[in-house]
């Protein structure tokens, strides 16, 4: 690093954005979506641009790259890259900069599925750097090696679908690096990835940046990622850059009210240590930056009460058919011998990475997926023994909230119709009673009763999730299965919906089965936590015990991979790992091993036999 310091001093910033204003044309009107944005990116510096959806962070990147359609967008201001104003450059010159001097990576990999990974790389290298075919191939292998793709030479001829999500993102980074760019713009590159994979990619970007002396503009919505990666941070809100400064300063003494509100809404792992009950997020006004006091948590669980939900030895497997005659070739052991209890007023969280079976467990309880074996007992009644009608009745007790606030409401029904439909379907009362109850519930979830006649598209994501909640509550359920219900929401909206869930739990004594991959939110909302890995529960216990004293290696790994909202730890390099998430696909004759659990403290069970390989543990928390 020392060699570059002088370089940084002698020249100005690599990229200087001055008074950038971008407008989009809509119905003949020019509406500004970015207003007067100015910031610098120094040489070998990482600048995070952070904001919620619609804040204009991606438009900023697109403006710099001039990837916006000319006819419907207008960019004003200056974008100085190495001293040249990009906005004044002719198209041909800009093309030379794009990809060569400034490279970009996106959330989804943009690999063409019909070409091999090697083809993409060789093509880029030959076109941009004038290599011969053989040279380009050699260079491609070297680049794949640099992004730590195991046995790079042999993987060059693989297609995009043969790589996992994390590996595809590595390939994208390798392609971006092919032309030795001075600036890498990364637009939410880790958002679609699991937390352990995200940690790997962040580590990789940091390492490559050190080696190549490259600047990075990192666009993200995740404050944890910001703290982990950036030197300086630009906070965006509604098209304005509301605050800019060194990351540590933004975190330690945020100035703008919006930044304060945003930081208050960011769940921080470890902030709940020593607390037994879930705690609401502090609410900070985006206008004034002042915090409202957090209501103290109310104990909602009666330890002596009979469980409302008992799951015993639940197994759900899916057949994989293949071959010429469609014979059985294997099985996905999505859920394998899972047992747990849930008491009234309690929140049990199922956590784990993609493919660990947490969603399938929830869906099996709802009978959206038919379990292969095991018992699901709701209030003492065994679900599998019920006929169609009994199942419909039972579904009144157990409700589900889905992940996607857009997809979970029928776009062609008003929300009034949507909320009253189940009430009427179960003949719980008259039409006017249904409407009264729906109006009441809407107010309860923080909306207005006069919104009943609106259609779902008139609402924002957070509001729709409230509507889904109101719809579930109209049947007076006792248990709600929340399958990644807050994962798709922006940070501040997420905090509000979590607060609402906790408030409803206190008032109505609801039980939640909270399914999530987000460890920090889980820490906030749960009484107990079950960690799932490859379809099995590896550790289950009181939340405080699991988070402060994780026993199973996988739990430890999962917790350590969560980005920490503490910029002071940024310079700690954690070493790179290449572990991929394993898949629970097994051959037909696979017999799942018998598992034993050790009780390390009251109610805290850990799977014995750590023979399950989860890979090395890379980081430990101080």
């Amino acid at each position: 690093m020392t060699g570059h310091v002088s370089l940084r001093a002698e020249a100005g910033p690599l990229l200087a954005v001055r008074n950038l204003t971008t407008s989009f044309q809509q119905d003949g009107l020019w509406t500004p979506v970015l207003r007067d944005i100015s910031f610098d990116i120094g040489r070998s510096e990482t600048v995070a641009v952070v904001g919620e959806s619609g804040s204009g962070k991606s438009v900023t990147a697109m403006s710099i790259m001039q990837l916006l359609p000319r006819s419907t967008s207008r960019i004003e201001g200056q974008i100085l890259f190495e001293g040249n104003d990009l906005l004044a450059l002719p198209d041909a010159e800009m093309r030379k900069i794009r990809g060569n001097r400034i490279a970009m990576i996106f959330q989804e990999s943009s690999l063409n599925p019909v070409y091999t990974v090697g083809f993409h790389m060789v093509e880029t290298l030959r076109r941009h750097r004038g290599f011969s075919a053989a040279q380009a191939r050699k260079e491609a292998v070297r680049l794949l090696d640099r992004v730590r793709i195991p046995s790079a030479a042999s993987r060059l001829d693989d297609y995009a679908h043969q790589f996992s999500g994390g590996m595809r993102q590595r390939v994208m980074i390798a392609i971006a690096l092919a032309c030795k760019p001075r600036l890498l713009i990364a637009d939410e590159p880790t958002t679609a990835l699991d937390v352990t994979i995200q940690a790997q990619i962040l580590e990789l970007i940091k390492e490559l940046q050190d080696q190549d002396d490259m600047s990075v503009m990192f666009i993200t919505h995740d404050m944890g990622v910001v703290a982990e990666i950036s030197d300086r941070t630009v906070v965006m809100y509604h098209g304005n850059a509301v605050e800019e400064g060194p990351t540590s300063q933004i975190f330690s003494s945020p100035q703008a009210p919006y930044t304060r509100a945003l930081l208050a809404a960011v769940p921080r792992l470890g902030s709940m240590r020593g607390l037994q009950d879930p705690l609401r997020f502090p609410v900070v006004s985006k206008k004034t930056g002042l915090a409202e006091p957090v209501p103290a948590s109310v104990p909602t669980v009666d330890p002596a009460a009979k469980p409302i939900l008992e799951v015993r030895n639940l197994v759900t497997r899916f057949d994989i058919k293949g071959g010429t005659f469609g014979g059985l070739t294997g099985r996905v052991h999505a859920v394998e011998n899972v047992s747990f209890d849930l008491r009234p007023g309690e929140t049990l969280s199922l956590v784990g990475e993609s493919g660990c079976g947490k969603s399938t467990t929830g869906r099996s309880i709802m009978r959206l997926t038919q379990p292969s074996s095991g018992q699901i007992i709701v209030e003492g009644t065994e679900m599998s023994a019920l006929n169609r009608n009994g199942l419909r009745q039972m579904r009144k007790q157990v409700q589900m909230i889905f992940q996607d606030p857009v997809a979970s409401l029928n776009a062609r029904m008003t929300i009034g119709e949507a909320i009253t439909e189940p009430f009427l379907a179960h003949r719980m009362g008259t039409r006017s009673q249904a409407r009264d109850k729906a109006a009441d519930l809407l107010e309860r979830v923080g909306l207005r009763a006069d919104m009943l006649n609106r259609l779902p598209h008139e609402f924002s994501g957070g509001q729709r999730q409230r509507i889904s909640l109101a719809r579930a509550l109209i049947l007076d359920p006792k248990l709600i299965v929340a399958d990644e219900s807050v994962s798709a929401l922006d940070v501040s909206v997420k905090a509000q919906v979590v607060n609402l869930l906790l408030e409803l739990q206190e008032r109505l004594g609801l039980s939640y089965l909270f399914i999530s991959h987000d460890m920090a939110v889980v820490e906030r909302v749960s009484h107990r936590v079950a960690v799932m890995y490859l379809g099995e529960i590896v550790e289950i216990g009181p939340r405080d015990r699991v988070f402060s004293d994780p026993q199973h290696p996988y739990t430890k790994k999962l917790i350590s991979a969560v980005p920490i909202s503490d910029p002071e730890r940024r310079n700690i390099r954690n070493g790179l790992s290449n572990d991929e998430i394993k898949s629970p696909i097994r051959p037909i004759n696979f017999v799942p091993p018998q598992r034993d659990y050790a009780e390390v403290s009251p109610g805290h069970l850990v799977m014995k036999d750590a023979a399950v390989s989860v890979g090395p543990i890379k980081r430990t928390r101080p």
């Binding site: 985006k286 029928n410 008139e458 957070g462 509001q463 889904s468 719809r471 049947l475 509000q496």
Partner: protein, 306 residues
Amino acid sequence: MSDTDFQAGPVAMPVRAGSFKTLMRSFRRAPAALLALIVLSIILLVALSAPFLAPQNPYDLLQLDIMDGLLPPGSEALGRDLVYMLGTDGQGRDMLSAIMYGLRISLFVGIVSAITAALIGATIGLIAAYTGGRTESLIMRIVDLQLSFPSILVALMILAFLGKGVANVVLALVIVEWATYARTARGSALVETRREYIEAAVCLGVPTWRVLLRHLLPNSLSPLIVIGTVQIARAIALEATLSFLGLGVPVTEPSLGLLISNGYQYMLSGQYWMSFYPGIALLITIVAINMVGDHLRETFNPRGQA
């Protein structure tokens, strides 16, 4: 409860393609499609009000004069204040009036058969998509079988069995066409069935028939409307073919196809108008419907898939 997430207000979402306003706006942007829509509206209007617009009732024998037979376009009627704009046929029937009345039959047969086939096909397709498994396989194999026969052949066989008649033609067309709707409905419903609002409805204990009718059907409708339009044109053409071959509608209720067939024998003797003008009317109708249908497909289906 804080109200901060109201500040953003309702999110500006792209309006669903189903909205009537967007549809009209999209027509304004495509002049050719707009023209087709106008032409189609005129055709529909003419067909509906044929009894009031037509110079004579071509099937009221009292209004026909055999002496006026085989007159070329533009001739005047003998002893009456009537100009045969498009000529007359062998019985002295005004071709313009015959075409107007023929349009009624053609459009009636086309629209009724398309709507009936759509209702039956869509129901079967939705059931297949929603139930899945064996039922779905069975239904879809029947659909495949049906679609693998040339439709004209199937229709001919049915009509040969049932005999002539408007109702029989409609029935034959429904039998020929339901499978297309079933396949389309299944395809679009299959996408929707996996969406969370369907699962939400199931979890909420909404009865299956309601899930199908209130949730699945309205959301699977757009592609059905699109192929529906094109299928009307197809049905009209098929009916014309059948009538031309003499197996379609009876002589008492002639459609455009039958008019073409009737005039065909005079073609070689130079009296072209008896086949030519009904042919032109058929052509314009089908082209207009197809253009409107194509435009609907582009609007509803930006990726250009059929």
